[in-house]
Symmetry: C2
Subunit: 631 residues, 2 copies
């Protein structure tokens, strides 16, 4: 019987993201899918700005962009008018008040997205096993290392295979076998279920916004338009709703009916199809799984945990982040870095996001169904945050803003827990900073993007992307002014170098044979250090200004000397954007998935590292920071 680190059921977005992360970090994966072939076209298609950050962080963005996706920057609203329909307004898909590196939604069919992951997994020796299905599993603990037995079967030949695994992941979509076997119930936030028709095709039309995302209400019905790669356009039409008096969830429509319906809705504009690429009709309701795991060995994620209307464009994005969230936690446990308890945060963090998604989905539906925005309101919402005075914001604008932040992916805020520092955290050092003192960064939120100059080669780079998704915590040492923090950096590094510091307690076993060219993990698999000075690049001499441990990360030393339109008066824009003191800096700990863990004041003496030892000490396997108590 073969043993695996993780068996992943389903090779859609959630399964492939999990498999890709874990394969890269060296785990033995079995990823099965009951379909004989990957998705060819159609299905999920919208990649939100935050997901694009993640894909770029994995080095997958270039591949994705090579498919030449459509990009949605604005959404247009069309409403009934005397002559059919008229545009009542547009707004930004990711407005300027959101500080996004990629302020647009990227549209590409799921076939390309799966292809991107499959190509990457192949480099690490992982192929999806098809068409295989799961027929049973049990966490029988008969093997302490591989406690879960999984029964698999070839979908056609009925050939059987039984394997053991450390973890089983169900990413098989809304009708998850794993979830059903666990008898985890689905809860419905909103009792309304809908039947949706969706059609990708190449069209000719004089409808002016065919390359924009549109929500069109007409007397003949409603439609959502989503531009796609290769001159395609996707149309979503609601075919039936459980609010209809004669609702039948099996109600369907043919391609021709969809086209006829669309033609009526778009009147007075004409539309013709050159070809239809993909067509599907499916019923869906708003549902959320009560639990994401029962035993922290068998997990579910993606559509297996949350279903909702396709209008929000959030399914795949939420799935990506489910998988990314779980991947590094499994990695840290299996490599002996953190305690097993950290796994509880997968459900607590991701289920909350799914709940927000369902709330949003309900609000979103209401927004479009019950109250149509006027152009004036939309105009106010689309300007920058600094332009819009709070007094100008009505309920609709507020809802819109909150929704934009959520749909872009930047609204995701993990609550205070062992990873996301807050006043209730067991680490109590007074040096922890919060939004009410010393930083603008919010724990549990994504790191604010910032452009800086890399010292070693003078390249202008995106700081938030400099450390790849390598399973490591990102330790950003904003070092303030060179002339001010010289002693502070020495003290910081001295404390870091102590055997029981969070950093030195987990050095690599093979530290003496690590390649000279290793950029990200020369000393530790769990930390990558980056130092950012408020100085011009030419003023910084790495060997002179950085203690040895920091200087070893020579490719991660930056000059905060690039002007930023968002903080036009700042001398050190990156420091300013983080809300850190431009003179004295501060240390920002970012989780492997890009969310801020904690922010600590950078001070002389061992205080900063003491605080970090407290923070990491709450979840790593070793006792940290004993030494300074002795001193």
């Amino acid at each position: 019987m073969d043993n695996y680190d993780v068996v992943i059921v389903g090779a859609g977005p959630v399964g492939l993201m999990l498999a890709t992360c874990l394969a890269r970090w060296g785990y033995k994966i079995k990823n099965i899918d009951n379909r004989p072939e990957p998705t060819k076209t159609g299905r999920a298609d919208g990649i939100q700005p935050r997901s694009m950050d993640l894909l770029r962080n994995m080095g997958l963005k270039r591949k994705l962009m090579s498919y030449v996706p459509a990009k949605v920057y604005e959404v247009a609203f069309w409403d009934p008018s005397k002559n059919g329909i008229m545009r009542t307004g547009t707004w930004a898909s990711c407005p300027k008040f959101i500080d996004a590196r990629y302020p647009f939604t990227t549209l590409i069919h799921q076939g390309h997205i799966e292809d991107m992951f499959l190509g990457d997994m192949q480099k690490y020796g992982v192929e999806v096993q098809r068409p295989w299905t799961i027929t049973g599993f049990k966490n029988d603990g008969k093997d302490k290392t591989y406690p879960v037995e999984v029964n698999l079967e070839h979908a056609k030949t009925k050939e059987k295979e039984t394997v053991r695994t450390k973890y089983l992941f169900g990413g098989e979509g809304a009708r998850s076998f794993v979830r059903e076997q666990l008898k985890i119930p689905i809860h419905h936030k909103d009792p309304i279920a809908n039947v949706w028709g969706v059609m990708d095709g190449v069209v000719r039309t004089n409808f002016p916004d065919i390359k924009m995302k549109c929500t069109i209400h007409s007397d003949a019905g409603s439609i959502m338009v989503i531009p796609r790669e290769d001159n395609m356009v996707r149309l979503y039409i609601q075919i039936a709703s459980s609010t209809d008096p004669d609702f039948n969830p099996r109600k369907t429509a043919t391609e021709q009916e969809m086209m006829d319906h669309a033609k009526k809705i778009l009147n007075p504009y004409w539309i013709e199809w050159d070809r239809v690429e993909w067509f599907s009709v499916y019923p869906i309701g708003q549902g959320i799984s009560e639990k994401y795991t029962l035993d922290e060995r068998v997990f579910i994620g993606g559509d297996a945990c949350h279903t909702h209307s396709p209008k929000a464009g959030q399914g795949m994005n939420t799935a990506f982040l489910d998988a990314a969230n779980l991947a590094w936690k499994i990695h840290h446990i299996e490599s002996g870095f953190t305690k097993r308890e950290v796994l509880s945060t997968y459900e607590s963090e991701r289920k909350l996001v799914a709940e927000e998604l369902l709330d949003f989905d309900a609000r979103y539906a209401k927004l479009f169904s019950t109250r149509l925005p006027s152009a004036g309101e939309v105009g106010a919402a689309a300007t920058t945050a600094s332009d819009a005075k709070p007094a100008d914001e009505n309920e609709f604008v507020k809802t819109f803003k909150a929704s934009c932040e959520f749909t872009s992916g930047y609204g995701v805020a993990y609550k205070e827990n062992m990873f996301n520092w807050g006043p209730q955290h067991s680490a109590k050092s007074p040096l922890f900073l919060a939004t009410d003192r010393g930083t603008k960064l919010r724990t549990g939120r994504i790191l604010v993007p910032a452009t800086v100059t890399r010292v070693v080669d003078a390249n202008v780079v995106h700081l938030e992307q400099e450390i790849p998704l390598n399973g490591s915590y990102r330790v950003y040492i904003f070092a303030g002014r060179l002339q001010k923090t010289s002693q502070t950096l020495k003290d910081f590094t001295k404390a870091l170098d102590k055997k029981s510091s969070f950093y030195s307690a987990f050095l690599r076993d093979d530290i003496d044979s690590v390649s000279y060219h290793e950029r990200h993990n020369p000393d530790s698999h769990f930390f990558t250090l980056a130092t950012i000075f408020n100085a011009k690049r030419t003023e910084i001499e790495i060997m002179e200004h950085l203690p040895k441990t920091l200087a070893r990360y020579r490719d991660h030393v930056y000059a905060d000397d690039v002007w930023d339109v968002r903080v036009p008066d700042a001398k050190a824009a990156a420091h300013a954007k983080m809300g850190l003191d431009e003179e004295n800096g501060g240390v920002v700990i970012v989780r492997p998935d890009g969310y801020v863990g904690c922010v600590v004041k950078l001070v002389e003496g061992s205080g900063t590292v003491d605080a970090l030892n407290e923070y990491f000490g709450s979840f790593v396997t070793k006792k940290l920071g004993g030494e300074q108590a002795v001193l």
Copy 2:
């Protein structure tokens, strides 16, 4: 005997660029190379900012970037010091006063560059024939369509092949057989010849600027450091110079001698090689070919026309632009658009650039050999143009600035001729604008980059890249304020629609069957129209505000509504950057290779099109603009 449109000898950068352009435009190409295989590694490596624009315009940038090249933003200067060497200053490789979209040099070995072109040519059915060599050719005119006979031979089997062609191109490098057969002499601007050693390898070192471009002078000799992809670094060492008393152009050096020499120069820093990827020693002098063609049927380009020191990093870039310059001129003649005389401008335009390159090479050598810049001077040069007061500029700074512009590729200025309008042009309309009246654009220079919003999908795009290298003239109609130019646009289009206008005289034969989805050439193979309004995107309704002919280019309608740091007070940044009236606009004609041809005032009546008819009438095959004389 087979007939070809163009036979290209040599599949290095110049030959591949020419073959790629012509293959895309549907020509029958034979491209031979005497090497059994493409370049694997080493050789040319530096892609300048202007070349990157060109490669992106061809859709090749993404492929190039997938090789993860090194990027050089700054150059560091090291000079002898008491303890060995010390850095005396750095400066920007492409300083801010140059308005470049990609302000860096991209470093990648020639193997990857050839691979990029070969992959693209393959899509159009062209494979390089190897290892074949040219043994003779004559423009005997025995066939009027294919006047040139070319004799080819397999380099090993000696199999022979004779073909006829419309054009023969010699891109075989410094020892060009084609050039030699034509008995075209090489002239030397500078009598000094040098032997250079060049070595690509992976190194370990404590030299801090190993990832920067460096020029290092030491008492032990001089070296140039160029960072490369895959942790490599290229070192150039001058091994011998004809100014040496015992100069021997056959003098050589071993890998070990190069390394030992480099170690001495870099002292007090240490350097060790993990491996050497490529190593070569070659003698080279400054030379320029007296002619680029004798009969405008047989041409030479690239290193066959100009040789110089490798320090300038200009050889491949000049080669690319030689080929791009020739490609569209051949295309326009062979498709019946322009008169054969336009071919004379290949030599007149490109030879001037080569002469400037050789002048620059001489100045550059002098700059580093005879006077070392101080850090203060370098600092002044690296700031923006607006910061630096003319009074502050000494001779060195001026030379530096001029050189930076030249080496970035943006200093290339084609002189006034039939394509590049000036006071001597046969088109005499008073509506032509020049830098002393109505525009900042300079004819014969690259179009200034500008960021705008595409109306149809609200995408924020780079205007200068929106029309690909498709062999068409780019007609940018900067339409000023919507409210102001409505009648002007109607008049402009009315004149455009007249049968004898430059535009309507060359409509596609298959205009009635062109795909609805054709974005760039729906009406004409020789023109792509783009309209840019000084308006917010949401104010522009394509069907309402644009006459039909302009509206057909619906994917090329833009809102000039993106703020630009270079013109912070402008309402319409693109208009402002071009120096055009923000209210009334203007028309900019850009040649297929991206250089500004002419700029014309946009006025009511037929004047604007009359002026363009005059301009194009000077070199196209049809008589233009007869009609308005009749009216």
